[in-house]
């Protein structure tokens, strides 16, 4: 990787500042919420992303570095057993200390040490490793920026006051025409990234390899809330024949009857439609033209079966996405070439289709909502995790999860690419996860 040092540092400064801007609208009290083990406090995200640089760059590479606090290695380690024990994840919300102000000082201190290290990087014997880890750290922090929004949303949602993170009014989506299916020729298609590529990617995107893809048809847009409402009204949540066995068990146990954040009007005082929807802009009227979001894989799969369709496989999705943005070398460094509704401080909710569909074009591949694929998250043939604790980043999660593709309204600009693999458990709903149909 040949990265210009100044550029990298500028990018670091920019990414770091976005994390802090994300938290700006919050009250101190909001920083500490953790409603379920999965949804960590904002304060924890701010500290953990800092811990990542401290642990994997400053400690090994900055001479005479003294850790900011002797217990932070333990407190802010997420899951790296190679580093040591971790404070229990379900109890992150119980840590009132360090305070928000102290975490800000921690961030500033680590930033300063990194600046010192980077200032003389060219003379450092491990300059390449340091650069690579800083890039990894940036991408890591961007992933947590998305989680900050999704975790915060969940944590606020349990409050009957429906707190508003972003007071800007939400414009209604434009009317969406019926979905059309576009026929795709398959073939022997390369998938994934060549590890020697001159651009950053996560190790789970490697190695590049060929797949045989059968011909298929794909819907030209995401499924909308209005379409999902039809599924509900048709008894979708009451019909076991539409569901995977584990999905049906989950429906029964969790008493699911709508996507996460859909609030039946009976619980509030709305009128005119049957649901309101909790968003980071507060409780909103139901908008049938927005893409459906915050559904589990089980719900995506059941909807598809109800619709006589199926979900895409991840290689099918990647083939489509690559066609829109041919090589990894181009895309991530020129983020503007990837069109889609990504993170935007003005709007923290999917936007929907912004223009009428041109015939035979697959829209919304990127942004708005992640797309559940039917592909279990597993290693590509020949995959090898990195040595040491950093090898725990991705590989140990390759079981029981499914791949999502394309990024969402909460994904930072420039973070996504055609080969990017996100993954969650099939029952998870708190991400901005939606679906596209295929046949």
């Amino acid at each position: 990787m040949n990265v210009d040092c100044n550029d990298l540092w500028q990018r670091f400064v920019q990414v770091r500042s976005i994390s802090e801007k994300l938290a700006e609208p919050l009250e101190i009290e909001d920083y500490c919420l953790q409603a379920i083990p999965e949804t960590s406090p904002i304060k924890w995200h701010l500290a953990h992303t800092t811990w990542f640089y401290e642990t994997f760059i400053l400690k090994p590479f900055l001479a005479d570095y003294t850790p900011y606090h002797p217990r932070f290695e333990y407190l802010f380690n997420s899951y790296y057993n190679g580093v040591g024990m971790q404070f229990p994840r379900p109890q992150r919300g119980v840590l009132s200390r360090p305070t928000v102000a102290e975490v800000a000082r921690y961030r500033a201190s680590v930033n300063k040490s990194l600046e010192k290290l980077m200032a003389s990087l060219s003379e450092h014997p491990d300059a390449m490793a340091i650069s690579q880890r800083l890039v990894l750290g940036l991408n890591h922090e961007q992933q947590h920026q998305e989680l900050m929004l999704t975790d915060l949303k969940y944590n606020l949602s349990l409050n009957p006051l429906y707190p508003v993170y972003n007071p800007a009014p939400l414009a209604h989506a434009q009317p969406v025409p019926g979905a059309r299916y576009i026929d795709i020729q398959g073939g022997y298609i390369p998938t994934g990234v060549d590890a020697s590529a001159n651009a950053f990617c996560f190790d789970n995107e490697t190695p590049r390899h060929e797949r045989l893809i059968q011909p298929f048809s794909v819907a030209d847009r995401l499924v909308t809330q209005g379409e999902y409402l039809e599924f509900i009204q048709d008894g979708g949540y009451q019909n076991p024949l539409l569901w995977l066995a584990d999905g049906w068990a989950e429906v029964q146990q969790q008493k699911w009857c709508a996507p996460l954040y859909w609030v039946p009007d009976a619980e509030t005082t709305g009128a005119g439609s049957s649901f309101s929807v909790f968003t980071l802009h507060g409780l909103q009227d139901f908008d049938p033209n927005l893409p459906v979001v915050h559904i589990s894989y089980y719900e995506a799969d059941a909807f598809a079966r109800w619709a006589g369709a199926r979900l895409l496989r991840e290689d099918e999705w990647e083939m489509l996405a690559t066609a829109q943005c041919p090589t990894i070398a181009q895309c991530p460094t020129t983020a503007q070439t990837i069109k889609g509704n990504f993170f935007d401080p003005q709007r923290n909710h999917p936007v929907g289709l912004s223009e009428s569909l041109s015939q035979n074009t697959v829209q919304q591949l990127y942004g708005d909502t992640w797309e559940w694929t039917q592909s279990p998250y597993q290693s590509y043939p020949g995959y090898r995790a990195a040595e040491g604790a950093i090898g725990e980043y991705n590989g140990k999660f390759m079981c029981n999860q499914l791949v999502l593709r394309g990024g969402s309204i909460a994904t930072p600009q420039g973070h996504i690419r055609a080969t990017y693999r996100n993954f969650f458990y099939p029952a998870d709903r708190w991400q901005f996860s939606g679906l596209r149909l295929a046949r």
Copy 2:
């Protein structure tokens, strides 16, 4: 009840200000902690005690009163089904809003409305009921002042940084001589309070009735940490024959091997003794002369069996306490006549015996630690709960709990009396609960 209005208002102002002073040392982040369903956030206590006056005084008795916020009735109702639904207790920690500042405004607003109501109380047709409920509200708030300390202590204790609530250094306890047993003559002894008494008491202390108490012997002081350590070192936590069946099951399941807050030195870096102890003053050296505290009923009972003794019954305790402070009419209004270590902003931990024991005197009946009795919490013969929601205050808890007596270092001055009945489940340990032996 004949209460002078000015005096009552002065007392109200004083009690209210103590709640706020209790919270003063805290960071905003500390106000929101709830580690387990039982240990509510400080912010919630500040709001709920306010809700109590609003619900039971302002709404029924202040003409044209507009509730401060339409959802607070739901958010801050603890358990009064007669008032309506309650926000789920285990999720009080998930409410970042209203903020601490907003709760302070809520308190001020309700204070102001109460002041208005009290200013013209003499002309109010329900003056007596209002006065009585204000006195009940004060006592209720004092109970929550104790809970603020015990809940906070538990919530902070899970943080490996061992946060310090009170930075004042803890003086060591004076050496404690061996306990001596004092023989007590029993007889037909009156217990409880005559409902017509001209002083406040909770309904669970009524009615006054006679009990037949057998002769017994009672230890002249509380059990110490040093004595409890001997129990541990003698294998007390490994010997099922010392335990109640349900207690032994709890020991196995919770892996108890010492009182709550005893931290084995192996977990920290101490030396010279086998445990450190977490307190509101931070982690402290083990002091054998302090009374043992934060033990469950099961542990108290097992210790007593190991020592060849038993716990007191509540009527035995009350008989001893009444002898030291003869009538309810005197004691609560002249709190200074009850000697003991109660709440003191300088010291938030038991003090221990402050003077050498005079022969044949029962010491430490009041204060330092609550004393587990072997008496299940049940109604006195002829007990009747109040009408309406306020009748839910005590009566519905008269099952599965045991009575504790005497108050603790966290009990506000003037709140306790000889007939006062506290109650907790036998596995509860987060109160300042200790024990005294009897035979």
Copy 3:
């Protein structure tokens, strides 16, 4: 205790044979059921009662006794930590071996060894201890005879085929007149048994001591199913104000809406009434004149509150019962002097009132259903458990349970007495537990 050896042996033979007769109607498959940890398999009861004699008599007192099987000490120990580890209670149903036939051989073998020991009892230095333990063992086996019926009933009840244990038809109860309250004078009343009494009792009935009982009124009969149905139809299970806090939590969690074994007709095909009732005689029509049975303490308490009444305290009940059968020395040895519907192989369900009530007589104190009292199960003043493992029989359960009095249709003839204390957790419903009102 002065027991004639032949008589004792005859009684032993008789009690033992009743256990086996109880099991006679069963299929082999029925012997092994354990639906919940509390409801042990019949086979286990047959083995455990045998284990009791083997452990507490043969092993210590029969010279050169070889245990029947080296692992039975572990397999059939219920809860005696003083004897050793116990096979986990919840998994008793997983033991297909020893088979039913093997357990029968175990019973026969232990019987034979006991016969040998008893044949020369007069020459044995521990003759008195042996006799006492045999009597204890008999009473222990009788307790398990009741549990055999209640456990079996529960275990069969989960089978949608509603298996019939006793095919004899159930006669309808006679019409029951409205309950009348009878006024009782209180006073200083002796309670419990003098340990030196010349008759068997459990240690939890000792020592005899005086209690002060206030005047009270008591209903002259048990509450009926018809009365309980009114409670249901009046919304009793939907009104939290009628319930203890822990009871209401249980109602919500368990979704209770009727006594155990009441099957809404919607689930079967009945007509003409709203419930059928599962019994040991199979599914039966609802009979409003039968006493209500299989309710928890919480339900008994809620019903009483709804009816403007309360439950008896155990000393009140004992005072009434003693009046009907004055001394312990008479009653248990002449069981026929205690009138009531007890175990009868022809009828394994409460019978109800068999004659019209004579004015001012308390009926049904004994038999038909156990009566929940509001008295927590605790030791009497001066109680001491026996030394050694046998001391675990009763004492270690004196926490979290409530006392029931009077025996039921499943209690063996001659087993009950005025001072007899049964005890269960407040949520337990699988015993033949009912209630009587008092004021």
Copy 4:
């Protein structure tokens, strides 16, 4: 499918009788065990396999057929929501009725009705569908024959008496040489079955499609118990870096420290080796030359990582297996062409390598133990489940499970084939599941 009717009926009679022979060594008590929801009682298997024919053949196709019992449709439905509600799986062990004898009568009755139907099959308008469903039913019953053994084994294993199902002595395995890796060329390889093939397969084996397989190396035999013991002795169960994240969580929670059924000698009285092993032949000495079995996917995966290897993918396995038995049409009908240690009434435990390895031959692909693959169980491209309830057979389980290949010592002769896909959750250990290494 062109099946000769007589042959089919003979095969039916033979398969049915094997189910009954499997149960012959059992006591009645053994038929009813269900230790965990997954391990159904033998009696249930005998009834459910019968229910399958009754539900899917007799009810739709035999004119005037009267179901054997009106509640059996509910009681013995495993998971077919299209048929109706199901008796809860975790409570199958609570059904003492119908008895074992009654289930035998149920089996005989359904057999008889089927015989009647088959006798005039040629004249039946649905002859083809009936034949196909009978073949499906046979294969279904064979799957349950394997489960009868694995469920029984688990259910017996919890009994400290270690009951013996098969008293025949277990011969020791022959010494096993070190594993050698054989290099395999990949390529575009057909996988799965063409739905039009003239032989039975499950729908999850269809459709046939091409896969691109990279070159790989495969061990020429299964991993042995001796090798697995080295993993344990090297701290494999204590090193989180060897484990998938979910696997490590399972190790911690379940306290796994060896394969299922390995009993540390400390728990018994063995000597000379560190473990004994529970088998269907009773407790046995540890034999290092036997293949390791009863491990979860997590353990297989961790062992492979420890060994610097990986598990096979299912298409790799199938490619190897197909090479040994080229076409589906040949193999299943001539079962003898598939060599391996399958079900044998004389020996209910893996046999191990029976001859010295010939160089460059992959041994033990079939039989002895199922091989965990790293392939999540999902549909093949173009897969379509059957219409109606029978479509629930396989498709709805295609989530959260992993594929196992090759059959085991419990798999009936003639049931397995190269394309056969078995599937279990990654934490499941009660199947005869082992592993083979690859690179």
